[in-house]
């Protein structure tokens, strides 16, 4: 909130308002840390560390083998350099790969047994791990208004999942929602069948590393014909210092099922950068639909670019069945460096992929993000709406691939990417790749880059709004397409995030 502190408060603006604005617009809200006794594996990565992680998770032999093979492949791979991001070389041997609270040594059997300090952490983040409605709700959540809906939460703290809510109720509906380590133990047949089938072990440097050392994450299986009775969500918190977070998420929507999944993430503010390299795999069978929403709010580093999370993530959905559908929605405000391209493989006939993204980069942040739509089946459709907003000295790159294969007869893609520059020290880049191998496919692309339009701002100000209010209004309008696609709970937070990140950033 530098801007506000330096601004002379005008006469007639009451102190309460000024304080309120200072409060919401303050520095990164989630930058505090939880003081808790931790247990670490030794720093660095090696076959022994891989075995140790596997052992901590009480994994069967086949899983340990899978990891070790990934590790061997990782050794042969090189770190990618094609993204438009700059960061100091990461020393992969100077990171802890496993950190868990001591109190988690003996797995708590229920949420009641979880260390109160951990529960308090999530409480403070606004994610209470109690089985209650979000806000005041009533039975029959389906029909209840948005604020009365139930959301089941899996909470991941550093390397381990500390608990999952509403498990019993979900089980009654046939839905499996648990940590991936639990799934490996309790549902090996499902994990064996699907793990690594969307993002192969050797997919890319970070995905390969993740395959070797992932410590926890979420697992979802929705059986045929089931509409998941509530929204599922995983909340990732990095707390420990010098620790990488490598989570793995596997979501399977079987024939004719539906699930909406939300992911949130935060981390303490620290001077040293931290690595987060996740893999998310989604399998969508015939007539099934998955909505995956992310509000990514990792610590972005300070104004000079010190600290922050390096977010190198591989997310991919495989629309295997005919008429299957997946929708990615993301609001990206955090991370020092983001490298992330949630993608859709549209294999089934008439399958659909959608990608809606708002990436806001401020100060020294760098974001290289986008999507890949790979059309393999007939009559497949995809839509991409991406909005990049850069302020301060930030760099924001949209990188997208739309690929129409030979058999993708009559496939359609619509892409719209806009970039908004606030100030003159930031940058926006659009890198669309389009490959069309059949002539019945149609690809439409629109890209615009605009500064916050001076005429729009003047129009607002001539009606009495001050500059900040005017910018927030115009930018919020700009983002609305994307926000509308978000589930209610996140839309509210996202709107706030938009206002906060842009506070005082008009160049």
């Amino acid at each position: 909130m530098v801007a506000l502190d330096q601004t002379q408060v005008k006469d007639g603006v009451d102190q309460e308002t000024v304080d309120a604005v200072r409060e919401v617009g303050g520095e990164y809200k989630y930058g505090w840390e939880t003081e808790i006794e931790m247990e670490y594996a030794p720093k660095g990565v090696s076959p022994d560390i891989v075995r140790l992680i596997s052992e901590k998770n009480e994994e069967p032999e086949w899983m340990t083998e899978w990891r070790l093979q990934a590790y061997e492949r990782w050794l042969q791979k090189e770190e990618p350099t094609w993204a438009m991001v700059n960061y100091p070389k990461i020393d992969f041997q100077d990171i802890y790969y496993y950190a868990r609270p001591k109190s988690m040594e003996v797995k708590p059997k229920s949420l009641e047994e979880v260390d109160p300090k951990l529960l308090a952490t999530y409480e403070k983040l606004g994610i209470p791990l109690r089985e209650q409605m979000i806000l005041a709700g009533v039975e029959g959540a389906e029909k209840a208004p948005a604020e009365g809906r139930k959301v089941a939460v899996d909470a991941v703290f550093d390397s381990v999942s500390i608990g999952t809510t509403f498990k019993e109720e979900l089980k009654a509906a046939g839905v499996i929602f648990c940590s991936i380590s639990e799934a490996i133990r309790d549902h090996p047949e499902l994990v064996k069948k699907y793990l690594g089938t969307v993002v192969p072990v050797t997919d890319n440097y970070y995905a390969t590393l993740n395959s070797a050392v992932f410590s926890d994450g979420s697992f979802v299986y929705v059986p045929p014909g089931v509409r998941c009775p509530m929204e599922l969500s995983t909340y990732f918190r990095i707390n420990a210092e010098n620790t990488g977070q490598f989570e793995r998420t596997l979501i399977i929507a079987d024939k004719g099922s539906y699930v909406s999944y939300l992911e949130g993430c935060t981390a303490p503010a620290r001077d040293t950068a931290q690595l987060h390299a996740a893999v998310v795999e989604i399998i969508v069978e015939e007539d099934a639909e998955v909505k995956y929403s992310t509000v990514q709010n990792w610590y972005p580093g300070d104004e000079d670019g010190k600290g922050g999370i390096y977010n190198f993530v591989t997310k991919r959905a495989d629309c295997r069945g005919d008429r299957s559908k997946v929708m990615w929605t993301q609001v990206e405000t955090g991370s020092a460096v983001t490298w992330k391209y949630p993608s859709c493989i549209l294999r089934g006939e008439e399958s659909q992929g959608e990608f809606y993204s708002i990436a806001i980069a401020n100060n020294m942040q760098q974001a290289d993000t986008g999507t890949k739509m790979v059309h393999l089946g007939k009559n497949t459709k995809s839509r991409i709406v991406s909005k990049g907003i850069s302020a301060g000295k930030a760099q924001n790159t949209y990188r997208g691939l739309v690929s129409m294969h030979k058999k993708a007869k009559d496939a359609r893609n619509y892409t719209q990417c806009d970039s908004l520059l606030i100030g003159d020290k930031c940058g926006a880049h659009t890198v669309p790749y389009i490959e069309v191998k059949n002539n019945s496919a149609r690809v439409e692309h629109e890209a615009t880059t605009s500064k916050v339009d001076e005429d729009q701002l003047f129009y607002c100000r001539s009606r009495g709004m001050d500059e900040e209010e005017a910018v927030a209004l115009v930018v919020n309008g700009f983002c609305k397409d994307v926000l509308q696609a978000l589930p209610m709970e996140f839309a509210m937070e996202a709107q706030q995030l938009v206002a906060i990140s842009l506070e005082g950033s008009v160049g």
Binding site: Q456, F458, S462, R463, G464, E469, G477, K480
Partner: protein
Amino acid sequence: MLNINNLHVQLEEEDKQILKGVNLTVEPGKVHAIMGPNGSGKSTLSYVLSGKGGYEVTEGSATLDGQDLLEQEAEERAAAGLFLAFQYPVEIPGVGNMTFLRTAVNAQRKARGEDELSAAEFLKEVRAQAKSLKIDAEMLKRPVNVGFSGGEKKRNEILQMAMLQPKMCILDETDSGLDVDAMKLVAEGVNALRSENRGFLVITHYQRLLDHIKPDVVHIMANGRIVKTGGPELALEVENNGYADILAEVG
């Protein structure tokens, strides 16, 4: 109430002078009209008064009720009661017309130290005003000016004016692009706001609007100056004979 004295304005970017000594006083309760050939500086005057960037005042002054306008930010001028109905209203995608109006109304109230209007009060007021301008509810929900027809945009400007209740209203060619019925609606909207402590500056090319909004004073602007001032008959003269005679007369 509005006093413009020897106002000289040039562009910030290039050395081009547009206003070359404008003198004008609008008294409370009065309607002044400005006519003048294209490019004479009418819109520029309205922009400079309301605080748009890109212009540099090299000489002269402009005050509203004795307060120096030119020192203030655009939003301060608005809160002080100045309003401009734009010749070309701007589109703001994604921002609902209603949200925009309410944000504006409350921003001004806040700046004046008044309480914000409650949602219910605001809604009641906006519906009543929209109705008299024949703006339907659907248009209130749409994004500001996006996809509005030319006439709808102009009516929307008058709606904003009615909601903001300014002291000094400047209308820049609000009549252009209006059909006959819409022109009447807009004129009625303006007339409803006429009161003894409110001033109007109506920029127009046509006598037609002035049939409905009777001006007290008519100015002719040419080449960055007010070259002639008279009564309503001056507008009729322009309508009948164009500007040639007047311009020849003043040299």
